[in-house]
């Protein structure tokens, strides 16, 4: 509306200006030949505002010329038929020039539009073919697409199903294949842009989607290969780790029964001791395997309750066979409480202690230490072993991993994975760093409960 008002005003102003000029020149020049000056009103209007205004300006010029300069003046009648001819020429000129101008203006606009589309497609092809996620890149590019198509807002969905929504929808297809849908809000500048732009966008999308699919497939194949390797490792570990205690038990038990083997009292006691310790080891191994499968299946929901850390440490120490001079225990003066599943946290600590005892050199000691730090209670288990190389610190908690333990002290590679699993499922953190004496120190941090026992210290 505003545009129309400005156009009318400028057109009338142009006619008035030319009329004024003719009025000024009419004393020196024959008035009829001055009529041609109205071209200077019609031309700019035709170029800038288009045909309807140009025709209007031509008619207005004609009327003004007739009214002000052609006899009888101040009427709209014409005496001379030659004047009719002059007016007709103005009109035709106005129409032709305005058409030419409009066409060249349209061409220029179209060329500009194409240029923008091409630039956008180039940009999109880089984003879509090198980006990580096609859908994400499309969302990111949506404002750019909208402004290029002259829509208020667009959305491109890879979903081949067309969903009902406000605004217009355009299918994106290449050949018989439907790649996605373009949804637009607000009117579009030009259908030609849609016709040109959409097929290009569709084939670009098809390539990008295919590429993404190939990448996913490749990733999945790699994943399958890895999980296959893991399964093989599990089978080997389980076969070796179950068989060793079984072998010791079978040999010891059968030696007690065999008539070919003669054992004295001490030897018999020793064989029975082997049966007992190895059965317990088997039991622990089976328990660990169950724990791990529960953790990996997400079936280990903790049943949290308030427990004292003293209690947790005590329970764990009772579970781990050891001599008293093998493990030092350091507890804080107060008694911190934590809200955890006591059974699961005990499994964490038992596995850390088991691991520490296995790696601690004879004559050296394991230390379990409880300290409070900020809002956390930190339980640390330090061993007197060879320590862990820095580049392997991250790997020690992976299941079936044996780090730096190629000397007969390796376990099934389950303990630390379970320790981490239960620590984390109870809202704790677990990490490992070098211990003061050169060994490794495993720490579990648990949020300290706000509840306190109110013990005076």
């Amino acid at each position: 509306m505003r545009r129309a008002l400005i156009a009318v005003t400028t057109s009338l102003a142009a006619v008035a200006t030319v009329t004024g000029l003719i009025f000024a020149f009419r004393s020196g020049v024959p008035v009829l030949s001055l009529g041609v000056l109205y071209i200077f009103a019609v031309l700019p209007v035709a170029i800038v505002w288009g045909r309807p205004y140009a025709v209007m300006t031509a008619i207005a010029s004609m009327l003004a010329f007739n009214f002000f300069f052609l006899p009888p003046r101040h009427t709209l009648q014409l005496q001379d038929s030659a004047n009719w001819f002059a007016l007709a020429v103005y009109l035709v000129t106005a129409v032709v020039v305005s058409d030419l101008a409009a066409r060249s203006r349209r061409r220029a606009a179209e060329a500009e539009q194409r240029e923008r589309e091409e630039a956008l497609l180039a940009e999109l092809s880089i984003a879509l073919l090198h980006g990580q996620d096609v859908a994400l890149e499309l969302d990111r590019a949506a404002p750019e697409i909208a402004s290029t198509l002259g829509a208020e807002r667009v959305r491109v969905e890879l979903d081949p199903e067309q969903r009902a929504g406000e605004g217009a929808t355009f299918p994106l297809t290449t050949g018989p294949r439907r790649v996605g849908t373009l949804y637009t809000e607000g009117s579009l500048d030009s259908d030609a842009a849609i016709r040109r732009f959409l097929p290009a966008l569709a084939s670009l999308l098809a390539v990008a989607v295919d590429r993404e699919q190939f990448q996913r497939d490749a990733l999945q194949a790699e994943h399958l290969r890895l999980s296959d390797a893991t399964k093989t490792a599990i089978l080997r570990a389980v076969s070796h780790d179950l068989r060793s205690p079984l072998t010791a038990i079978r040999v010891a038990a059968e030696s007690l029964l065999s008539p070919a083997v003669h054992l004295d009292e001490e030897a018999r006691r020793q064989q029975l001791e082997t049966v007992r310790t190895e059965s317990r080891r088997l039991d622990r191994l089976v328990e660990n395997l169950l724990d791990l499968s529960r953790l990996q299946a997400g079936a280990a929901t903790p049943r949290r309750e308030l427990v004292s850390v003293d209690e947790l440490v005590g329970q764990a120490l009772a579970e781990v066979p050891h001599d008293e001079d093998q493990i030092d225990v350091v507890l804080p003066a107060d008694v911190p409480l934590v809200e955890v599943d006591a059974v699961q946290l005990e499994r964490t600590l038992v596995n850390l202690l088991d691991n520490a005892l296995r790696f601690t050199a004879p004559g050296r000691r394991v230390a379990i230490e409880v300290a409070t730090s900020g809002g956390d209670v930190v339980i640390s288990v330090s061993d007197g072993g060879p320590g862990i190389a820095e580049q392997e610190l991250d790997r020690v908690f992976e299941p079936f991993t044996h780090v730096g333990a190629d000397d007969g002290r390796r376990g099934a590679g389950l303990g630390l994975a379970i320790a981490r699993g239960f620590a984390e499922s109870n809202g704790g953190r677990i990490w490992v760093d070098p211990a003061a004496g050169g060994g490794a120190r495993f720490s579990v941090a648990l949020p300290r409960s706000a509840v306190s026992l109110g013990v005076e210290t």
């Binding site: 076969s239 068989r243 059968e254 065999s258 070919a260 190629d406 007969g408």
Partner: protein, 229 residues
């Protein structure tokens, strides 16, 4: 008791201790080692009469230990393997180990294998060997079954003799080929399969269910006396 000295090599201390006690109870002298390197040193300082060798060892593997030992001694080597270690087991046998038992093994099986290994092949000097209802007269190259003469080709007889003088011992395909056909035939294991099948037809009561010439899958064959098992 025999008092023969056995060196047991295993990285699992519990197995080592159980075997130590058991073998002593069975009348052997026992040394133990936890690594392949320690085993090689001990075998050099005080050569045992037989070696019981775990395949999976930290550092030097059982197979490597067997290979190194074979460079200077032919002491009998009994390998402890586990299901899943088949390939390793075969390469240990190829490297010179004499026999194997699979974990978890029974001690009767272990003691029987050890006895067979300690009874050296050359020890069997008697001219006639009797196994079940088979009588083999080595000097006359004659074989009788239930008193009736069995006709064997020269290769069949050589094969049966090899099995008989090594009663109870595992013979790998390679060993059989080398002893019966000669070194050039070491890799032609189909010879063994064919001749063993022929031999079974002549000496086994039910060749489809062999009880005398038993197959050790993937490793070789063993002649056992079904009456003495």
């Amino acid at each position: 008791m025999s008092g023969e000295r056995i060196l047991v090599v295993d990285d699992e201390r519990q197995i080592l201790r159980a075997l130590d006690t058991t073998l002593r109870g069975a009348g052997y002298e026992v040394d133990t080692a936890e690594t392949g390197e320690a085993a090689l040193t001990q075998a050099a300082i005080q050569p045992p009469d037989a070696l019981v060798l775990d395949l999976v060892l930290p550092g030097k593997s059982g197979t490597e230990v067997a290979r190194e030992l074979r460079q200077w001694t032919d002491l009998p080597i009994l390998v402890l393997s586990a299901v899943g270690d088949e390939r390793e087991k075969v390469s240990a046998l190829d490297a010179g180990a004499d026999d194997y038992v699979t974990k978890p093994f029974g001690i009767d099986e272990l003691l029987a294998r050890l006895r067979a290994l300690l009874r050296r092949a050359g020890d069997r000097t008697e001219p006639t060997i009797e196994i079940a209802d088979i009588r083999i007269e080595l000097d006359k190259r004659a074989v009788y079954r239930d008193g009736a003469l069995v006709s064997l080709t020269p290769h069949e007889f050589d094969l049966l003799r090899l099995f008989a003088v090594n009663e109870g011992r595992l013979l790998t395909h390679r060993t059989i080929l080398r002893e019966v056909w000669g070194r050039a035939y070491e890799t032609e294991s189909h010879y063994v399969h064919v001749y063993v099948s022929q031999l079974r037809r002549k000496i086994e009561p039910d060749p489809a269910r062999p009880r005398i010439l038993v197959t050790e899958p993937g490793a070789g064959y063993r002649l056992v006396d079904p009456d003495r098992r």
